[in-house]
């Protein structure tokens, strides 16, 4: 999100005995637009990812605003039901694959090499390829809006046969755009794993790595394990649609439920892909502003790994009402509830880190604290949904919508914002404007809760999700939700203002921009020069 151009060429404090190769080549590199198109630099690619993600966040946000405007009152007001369905679908797809995932990859690009003392990502050209696949993929996805028959309209989970037999013709293009985004994710994840495993500065052991690096290592593993499964299932859709196969068609011996199994085998790890890096960010920010070491470092690592392993064993809790055998209902109910244990460990550790800390409440800390509280609410509603018999009541209601928006918006998105506020001084050399940041924070917190908290009540009272019109008794809840959504949406313009201002001017930040910050990125100047750690830095392991 910081479009700041790091100075080039840069005085290098590490250059003395560096190979010099990279620096020399880069100094003659292209300028202007070509510099961004052809770059192999992890900081520039990180910036590209973050700008892309912010753009998608607003496009997906506009779709959400259309949805909330239509639902402001009962009855059909603004859009046709067909278009409403396209808006809910595109909102979900854009936010998941276009906004949240690329934001975390962008943060990883910028910060993982800096936090482990690496000169760049392990495979820099592949890194650039991973990024540039995304604009192509999402241009293709967005173009479906103007295709005959309209954009995908079957929800972001694209269940067959809605997405096969009854799908608009644009579905084939939707499949290809998802293939491109998937290739991007897999290649990006391979790069991140290779970087973390191979490019750490020599004295940094695995158990010395900042938690953002640890959570990304595990996230990258999840990505490589499940994005190919998504590729597989959409390929089967493609064949069902265009070549007359019967994978999801019972008439030929296939099964629509097979689609759901495959999709959620990808989909459940996918939701942890969107939250594990957030855990890492919060685990880095809270100790900084509590001026204490993170409580229970090792248990954080093990909890993250446990969550990742469990994520492969819980997928059918999304399908409790599809007609599973009893033994499957029980297995997936209990395995899902198990996830509360490592997640509880994490929340406990964050709170214990805060306990008796010397707390200050700079903008990153505000967002991190809101994350802990609000993500936990989302976690608890998840636990409610995990109870199979109760889920028969909640399934496909606004309660589910409330649950996953609590973990994704004040969860993942707030963590991304916390990370941006935390690292903006490193990226731009300036502190973000405090007063504006606080306005952004408080408007976002109030907006988010106003939007999503009433959804719990509407859902428990029986309001189904993905409908453009609803019964009169839900009117008040929906009006409050819509007001909150407009407020949240509008306050994100403040975020853009903060970022743009921060790039241009602001209070100058020293190398160590935050008092309690300890990781390696705070040993390089702010803004970070284009090339850092061309020779591995000295790293003093601190006892966790």
């Amino acid at each position: 999100m910081a479009s700041h151009l790091p100075p080039r060429p840069t005085p290098q404090q590490h250059q003395a005995d560096a190979g010099g190769m990279a620096a020399d080549d880069h100094h003659h590199g292209p300028r202007g637009l070509m510099r961004w198109l052809l770059t192999t630099n992890h900081k520039e690619i990180g910036t590209l990812y973050l700008i892309f993600s912010l753009t998608m966040f607003f496009i997906g946000g506009i779709f959400a605003m259309v949805v909330r405007a239509e639902l402001f009152q009962p009855g059909l007001q603004l859009v046709q039901p067909e278009f409403f369905n396209q808006m809910t679908t595109m909102h979900g797809l854009i936010m998941v694959f276009g906004a949240v995932m690329p934001a975390f990859v962008g943060l990883a690009n910028w910060m993982v090499p800096l936090q482990i003392g690496a000169p760049d990502m392990a495979l820099p050209r592949l890194n650039n390829f991973s990024f540039w696949l995304l604009p192509v993929a999402f241009a293709l996805l967005l173009s479906t809006l103007v295709m005959p028959g309209g954009a995908p309209n079957f929800g972001w989970t694209f269940y067959a046969p809605l997405s096969t037999t009854y799908a608009p013709p644009s579905t084939t293009f939707f499949i290809f755009s998802l293939h491109l985004a998937g290739i991007s994710s897999i290649l990006g994840a391979i790069n991140i794993i290779a970087t973390i495993l191979n490019l750490r500065t020599p004295s940094m052991r695995m158990m010395d790595m900042p938690l953002f690096v640890w959570t990304w290592l595990i996230t990258a593993f999840l990505l490589i394990a499940v994005m190919p499964v998504l590729a597989g299932v959409i390929t089967m859709m493609l064949l069902d649609i265009n070549f007359g196969t019967s994978f999801f068609n019972a008439a030929g011996g296939g099964d629509p439920v097979l689609f759901q199994h495959l999709f959620w085998f990808f989909g459940h790890p996918e939701v942890y892909i969107m939250i594990l890096p957030a855990f890492g960010i919060v685990s880095v920010i809270i100790p900084t502003f509590a001026r204490k070491r993170l409580f229970g470092y090792a248990s954080m690592v093990y909890a993250t790994a446990s969550i990742a392993i469990l994520s492969f064993l819980v997928w059918a809790h999304h399908m409790f009402v599809v007609g599973l055998p009893l033994v499957a209902e029980l297995f997936f109910m209990y395995s899902t509830m198990l996830i509360a244990v490592p997640t509880g460990v994490k929340v406990f550790n964050w709170i214990t880190t805060l306990f008796r800390g010397s707390l200050t409440f700079e903008p990153p800390m505000l967002f991190a604290l809101a994350f802990v509280v609000l993500f936990t609410i989302g976690g608890f509603s998840g636990l409610m949904l995990a109870i199979s018999p109760a889920d028969f009541q909640y399934h496909d209601t606004y309660f589910v919508v409330a649950h996953f928006h609590y973990v994704l918006v004040p969860g993942a998105v707030f963590a991304i914002m916390a990370a941006v506020y935390y690292w903006l001084p490193k990226w731009t050399g300036h502190y973000p404007h405090t007063r504006l940041s606080q306005w952004h924070f408080w408007l976002s917190v109030i907006g988010v809760n106003l939007t999503f908290f009433p959804m719990h009540f509407a859902g428990l009272a029986g309001m189904p999700r993905r409908i453009p019109d609803y019964a009169l008794q839900f009117a008040d809840f929906n009006m409050i939700t819509s007001i909150g959504a407009f407020m949240f949406g509008a306050s994100q313009l403040l975020f853009v203002a903060v970022v743009v201002l921060c790039v241009r001017r602001g209070e100058k930040a020293p190398a160590k921009a935050w008092d309690g910050a300890e990781d390696l990125e705070w040993t390089v100047p702010s803004p970070a020069p284009l090339h850092t750690f061309e020779t591995p830095p000295h790293f003093e392991p601190h006892r966790h």
Partner: protein, 287 residues
């Protein structure tokens, strides 16, 4: 661990051109599928583009490698990269095998009325579950007339592919010991075996369509058969192309006795394709 000489390549135009070419390939194929032949030119441009980009990109990598710009740490990055790439391929096939097992173990017996979920049998009361499924539930879908014996062409192909893994290992041993003629001859033999496999698979597909009634449209048996063998076959084709490129490099005197990761990466990929085939032979053809 970083030794201080890690090579960070300069700006490159191949990644962005590659993504555009891949985008063109996807758009062109999509237009062909949805609107017909008008998508063909875009698809061809995309396909040629991506092949050209791969050629030029890998050429850069080979030049850099031969100029000695890569150190041991870079070598490890390539190893991790290739290893995790193959793991992603494993998961891609795992999805297809998972689908096959789910259909055979759960979906078909339930359609036949078995167990608590057997109410699905109300849809097609006359349906009898069997595997291979010769008669799909709905009469509108024409099932296969018969299925392959695993002990003819599929067995031959199994021997060919397993044999090619062995010949490739012999070539690798030759390279490691500096016997380049051995390496070249056995690698050539491996490529020929790969081509034989592809040809026999082609013959089998023709048999399937012309004589056996096994088609993509022949219900779930045909669908899973072509999904699994088709993607495997595509991987054999890619693997053979990789081996041909490696053979060309061996003939030009590339690779040393202790530094030849390009060769090893190709070998890893080939062995992976071989292992997938053994899974296929077992669960698609034999059982």
């Amino acid at each position: 661990m970083s030794g201080g000489s890690y090579y960070v390549p300069p700006s490159s135009k191949w990644p962005v051109l590659g993504s555009l070419a891949l985008g063109a390939l996807m758009v062109g194929t999509g237009v062909m599928l949805v609107h017909g032949a008008s998508g063909m030119p875009v698809m061809v441009v995309g396909l040629v583009g991506i092949l050209a980009v791969m050629w030029l990109w890998f050429r850069d990598v080979i030049h850099e490698s031969r100029k000695g710009l890569y150190d041991d740490q870079m070598d490890r990055s390539f190893r991790w990269g290739m290893g995790w790439f193959i793991f992603s391929e494993v998961m891609f096939f795992a999805a297809f095998f998972g689908a096959l097992f789910y259909i055979r173990t759960f979906a078909l017996p339930w359609l036949d009325g078995e167990g608590a979920k057997g109410v699905a049998a109300l849809l097609w009361p006359d349906f009898t579950a069997s595997w291979p499924l010769l008669e799909p539930p709905d009469a509108a879908i024409q099932g296969p007339e018969q299925t392959f014996s695993p002990w003819h062409l599929p067995l031959v192909n199994t021997l060919i592919l397993v044999g090619s893994s062995i010949t490739l290992t012999v070539a690798h041993e030759g390279l490691k010991e500096g016997r380049r003629d051995t390496a070249r001859h056995w690698l050539t033999l491996t490529v020929l075996l790969g081509l034989c496999f592809i040809a026999i698979q082609g013959i089998e597909y023709r048999e399937a369509y012309v004589h056996y009634g096994i088609t993509l449209q022949a219900g779930i048996y045909g669908a899973t058969f072509f999904l699994l063998t088709g993607f495997h076959g595509a991987h054999v084709i890619v693997g053979t192309l990789i081996l041909i490129a490696i053979l060309a490099r061996v003939r030009r005197g590339h690779f040393s006795e202790d530094q030849h990761f390009g060769f090893e990466a190709a070998a890893w990929y080939w062995h992976f394709v071989d292992v997938v085939w053994i899974g296929l032979f077992t669960f698609v053809y034999v059982f």
